[in-house]
């Protein structure tokens, strides 16, 4: 039997490229974890919210794409800031389980609200990314996969540069690193935490719009982000570089299992990965090793 090298190359490339989108969603998680020490279980609902806002603005109100996109991102950022102020800030300093459950409750409330307002139907999103496939010799890659990868790369690069060079970005990193010291040095920690949630909301909204335009728009989109937990655990919860590398790895593994085993198995691949990593290397590839002292 002749092994089909071309199929393997195609699966691998598609996997790596779709890993870009995973890395983008992971960035949303990592931002919030770094900035506020919370895993935001409502990330998928932010994605959903972004996609539904965009659908409403662009399709229902017939606004031009760029304006609709701007409005959507502003609205989601506002919502994220509001959530941070109303829910997360009163809970700061509470035990992990309280904050974890608050984000789960938030996920449930947002999911229900979206379902109540827009209904449970599938909507057809406008095609934002060109469909035209790319060919590389005999390998055929769908256009959306390539373009979503490019978009994710641009956004992640932009955020990295922002955190490295802008003074707000540096303040945010300082507050994330050590909130008390940052506060003493005159950094407005509340503002940086609010900004963190707003950025994460924007990242989530963009990812949601892209995912919805590739597949379709329905409340099921909210559950899509849970699989990305594998990416952030593998990469290390607080590392953007880790999120990128892990996104590519998980994308590759998912694509290969979908190609060689079945779609059903693909759905639990992220969770098996999570369990394995947590048993072998709980802090992930690039995460900070936490040392506890009494």
């Amino acid at each position: 039997m002749n092994f089909d090298w071309i199929a393997l190359a195609e699966f691998s490339l598609i996997g790596l490229l779709s890993g870009g989108l995973l890395a983008l969603i992971a960035l949303g998680f990592v931002l919030i974890y770094k900035g506020t020490g919370v895993i935001n279980f409502a990330m998928g609902e932010f994605m959903m919210l972004g996609a539904y806002f965009f659908y409403t603005a662009n399709v229902m109100w017939q606004l031009p794409t760029v304006l609709a996109l701007g409005l959507t991102l502003a609205a989601v950022a506002m919502a994220a800031a509001l959530i941070e102020r109303a829910i997360l800030r009163p809970l700061s300093g509470q035990p992990v389980i309280a904050i974890l459950m608050a984000t789960i409750g938030l996920a449930s409330a947002l999911h229900g609200a979206v379902d109540a307002v827009w209904g449970g139907n599938n909507y057809e999103m406008p095609q934002l990314l060109p469909r035209k496939p790319f060919t590389l010799g005999e390998i055929l890659i769908p256009g959306q996969v390539v373009w979503s990868f490019a978009l994710a790369a641009v956004i992640i690069t932009a955020f990295t540069l922002y955190f490295r060079y802008s003074s707000t970005g540096i303040a945010m990193r300082a507050a994330a690193n050590d909130p008390v010291t940052a506060y003493v040095l005159g950094i407005d920690v509340r503002r940086t935490q609010r900004l963190t949630w707003m950025f994460a909301g924007i990242v989530g909204a963009v990812a949601g719009i892209v995912v919805a335009s590739i597949t379709s728009l329905s409340p099921a989109l909210g559950g899509a982000a849970l699989g990305v937990l594998a990416v952030i655990i593998l990469g290390g919860l607080d590392s953007i570089a880790g999120a990128i590398v892990a996104g590519l790895i998980v994308g590759l593994i998912e694509s290969l299992t979908a190609g060689y085993l079945s779609g059903k198995v693909r759905d639990i691949v992220p969770y098996v990965t999570v369990l394995l990593i947590l048993m072998i290397r709980p802090y992930g590839l690039f995460g900070t090793r936490q040392i506890e002292r009494l």
């Binding site: 895993i39 829910i87 009163p90 809970l91 509470q94 992990v96 389980i97 309280a98 974890l100 459950m101 608050a102 789960i104 409750g105 938030l106 996920a107 449930s108 409330a109 947002l110 999911h111 229900g112 609200a113 979206v114 379902d115 109540a116 449970g120 849970l226 937990l229 594998a230 655990i233 919860l237 059903k264 759905d267 639990i268 992220p270 969770y271 098996v272 999570v274 369990l275 947590l278 048993m279 709980p282 506890e292 009494l294």
Partner: protein, 346 residues
């Protein structure tokens, strides 16, 4: 103002029900429990069965999460393990008084395996690990058709005691009530023993507990095993109650339901477990009857019933966390204190 609650011996101080008043109320409560099915209609009795099962499962989760501090997002999957074990055995003719404990043991065994990572990881990481386990177990429920019946689910033969089939809700009610009573008293007793105190020490600070000589690995695993045992028993009862089960019942949403129940009731108290489970079971019922009332004027109301349930559920969790973080049990204590100190202000 209540007076005369003097504790004059260590036995008295360690007693499980400390005052004659609380013993009297407990007796009244048990009489109520045993005559209640004769006074209520079938719907209420069925609801009481589900409620009892929820109480058992929440108690297990509270032992793990509330008392020992091990967050689990996979509790529903352990119920599933119990349910499928009971179904598998019952189909082969094993009587229910064996299948129910065996279902619990099977879940406990699996809990031991899942508990192993808990020595290295805790907090959020443990939550993610148990979340992963939840998805993997549901995947197994769906795919392992010879045992679980796949997506079509399994049928559970009716439990029978000396030829008397427990095939209606009233008879099931007594089985559920018996199991719930035994398990809750056991749980309450557990925290008067060395093991229970070790659990609480681990929750408060695990490293300090280890310094004090508590074997972390052993006690964390034990907490997982006990919590999962409760879940397994609850799952088996659920199987006997509904007589048929599909994997769709044991999803992440149910795990979150139990977490919400113990948070709203009160983490680390058995009374809170009961209050939380009752509250969380009754809220959807109340909501449903409210909506059907509104639906007379606004017919569209029933369409958004299930999304509204999700919204209310989420807001309840958030509201309790922000405004009443110690849960219903704290409200109960405040009310009781007011009565005890009356006519003085608390």
């Amino acid at each position: 103002m209540r007076i005369g609650d003097f504790r004059q011996s260590y036995e008295h101080d360690e007693a499980i029900w400390q005052t004659p008043t609380s013993r009297a109320w407990l007796a009244v409560f048990f009489v109520f429990l045993s005559v209640f099915p004769f006074a209520a209609n079938a719907y209420i009795v069925g609801l009481a069965c589900v409620l009892g099962i929820h109480v058992i499962s929440s108690a297990g989760l509270n032992i793990m999460t509330g008392y020992t501090g091990l967050i689990s997002l996979g509790h529903a999957a352990f119920m599933g393990v119990g349910c499928y074990t009971a179904a598998f055995l019952a189909q082969r003719g094993v009587p229910f008084f064996l299948t129910i404990p065996l279902a619990g043991l099977m879940a406990a065994l699996l809990g031991l395996v899942v508990g192993i990572p808990s020595l290295r990881i805790k907090g959020l990481y443990l939550a993610v690990a148990t979340l992963a386990m939840q998805f993997i177990l549901v995947f197994i429920f769906r795919e392992w058709e010879p045992v679980t019946g796949g997506v079509r689910g399994v049928n559970v033969p009716a439990a029978s005691l000396f030829g008397l089939d427990l095939n209606n809700d009233t008879r099931m009610y007594y089985l559920v009530a018996f199991c719930a009573t035994v398990l809750l008293v056991a749980a309450r007793n557990l925290f008067r023993t060395r093991i229970g105190r070790a659990f609480i020490a681990i929750r408060d600070k695990d490293i300090s507990a280890e310094v004090l000589g508590i074997d972390l690995f052993r006690y964390k695993l034990l907490a997982f095993a006990i919590g999962s045992f409760y879940a397994g028993v609850a799952g088996a009862l659920l199987g006997y109650f509904y007589r048929a089960m599909t994997p769709e019942y044991f999803t992440l949403a149910l795990s979150i339901f139990y977490l919400a129940a113990i948070i709203i009731g009160g983490l680390g108290t058995m009374l809170g477990t009961v209050l939380g489970a009752v509250f969380m079971t009754l809220v959807p019922e109340l909501l449903r009857s409210t909506v059907s009332l509104i639906a007379q004027w606004a017919p569209r109301a029933t369409e958004i019933l299930s999304p509204m349930q999700e919204v209310v559920f989420g807001l309840l969790i958030i509201g309790f966390l922000v405004f009443e973080p110690h849960g219903l049990v704290e409200i109960w204590r405040r009310v009781r204190r007011t009565f005890h100190l009356w006519p003085f202000r608390a």
